[in-house]
């Protein structure tokens, strides 16, 4: 089972109080943010604080750093400062194409060698936030073996589309669909955008239902309160688990009997259904804290 990334929680990189407590909410990944959550005059403070926090605090979970884009005056300095602390994951915002992924990959390789980290141990993910980025989504996803996930950043994307964000999310349907396809083609995970209205729990759940159906692996969150809601949503239900167990039992029985056709309660079972059942059970096991990597 691959690493679970149901919830990726943003933490402002220049806020010591929030950085200290970031690990206690149970998010699968915490993203220490050097980008949008940090004022332009405090970029240097944030990268020093993030470096020191990763070096000295034990978060007990996957730690990512969202750097500024490398086309800004801050992106390369962010990387230079935080990589020696060995974050698990670098998240690039506003990904536009595969070339920048390759440039960052190369830079990380040099840092790994210099700091004697195992080659390839620092992973990458990229957020697509523009129509151009979406057009190159597969190329971005496949540009480096470090890439573990694509994410969508809705606010910038919607501003680029010249529309507004709605409760039903129809404006993002095409982008979300294409992003899942690109991530799946490249064999990596796909993470949905943040839901920023903390008080609209109904809307949050509606969005979770939509993205789970679409095939997303998880969601970026901005508030610790959202973490357990996301985890509950992505956990297989008792009914799904029961069905998965019965599918696998029927499959096993058919294999032993060398039977070509498998059925359960009168419904035919074929290999994709078996694979899905295996995934459901592996997911439940990982979610129960019995593994996950």
């Amino acid at each position: 089972m691959e690493k679970l990334r149901r919830s990726m929680m943003f933490v402002p990189g220049n806020n010591p109080g929030m950085l200290l407590n970031a690990g206690i909410y149970g998010a699968d990944t915490i993203i220490l943010d050097c980008e949008d959550a940090v004022a332009i005059t405090e970029k240097d403070s944030a990268r020093n604080l993030v470096f020191q926090a990763i070096s000295e605090l034990n978060y007990g979970t996957e730690v990512a750093v969202r750097i500024n884009h490398i086309s800004t005056p801050f992106g390369w300095d962010d990387l230079k400062r935080v990589l020696p602390a060995k974050p698990d994951l670098i998240r690039l915002p506003m990904a536009q194409g595969p070339e920048e992924i390759r440039q960052i990959d190369e830079f990380i390789s040099e840092a790994e060698e210099k700091n004697k980290f195992p080659a390839g141990s620092i992973k990458m993910m990229a957020a697509v936030e523009t129509p151009k980025g979406l057009r190159f989504a597969y190329e971005i996803a496949a540009a480096s073996p470090r890439m573990v996930a694509l994410a969508i950043g809705a606010e910038d994307f919607i501003a680029n589309l010249k529309t507004t964000r709605s409760k039903l999310g129809r404006e993002l349907l095409a982008a979300r669909g294409q992003l899942v396809l690109a991530a799946r083609e490249a064999g990596i995970q796909c993470i949905d955008t943040v839901f920023s209205d903390i008080n609209d729990e109904e809307g949050f759940k509606r969005e979770l239902e939509l993205i789970k159906e679409m095939g997303f692996d998880g969601k970026s969150v901005v508030n610790p309160r959202q973490v357990s809601v996301v985890h509950d949503f992505f956990a297989p239900t008792a009914k799904e688990m029961d069905h998965a167990e019965r599918v696998l039992a029927a499959y096993q029985e058919a294999l032993e009997k060398k039977s070509g056709v498998i059925s359960l309660n009168g419904k035919m079972i074929d290999l994709p259904i078996v694979a899905r059942a295996e995934r459901t059970l592996a997911y439940a096991k990982a979610a129960a804290g019995k593994g996950g990597k």
């Binding site: 010591p16 109080g17 200290l20 240097d44 403070s45 020093n48 604080l49 470096f51 020191q52 926090a53």
Partner: protein
């Protein structure tokens, strides 16, 4: 850099943070730290030492420091001192 080029600040006075102000000092006057902290009694000495160690580590010999602590942990203190130093050397 054994001496500061200019005065500089980093950090805030929000909870869990520390505001570090550095001012250039005459040669051979050493590192002088003035600290305000709600935990002065328990941790004052530790915080001062940590500030001095961080400055010495970066090669500073003479500087005046004013630190307004709001309950910062070591990692925050080191990060703020380093940022103030970088700003002072720009």
């Amino acid at each position: 850099m054994s001496k500061l080029l200019k005065a500089a600040q980093a950090g805030t006075v929000e909870s869990s943070d520390i505001l570090i102000s550095l001012m250039p000092a005459e040669a051979a006057t050493g590192i002088q730290v003035e600290l305000v902290s709600p935990t002065l009694q328990q941790y004052g000495k530790h915080i001062k030492n940590l500030i001095i160690e961080t400055l010495v580590f970066h090669g500073i010999e003479d500087v005046q420091v004013y630190a307004n602590d709001k309950g910062a942990l070591d990692c925050t203190i080191k990060a703020r001192v380093k940022t103030a130093l970088e700003r002072a050397g720009e």
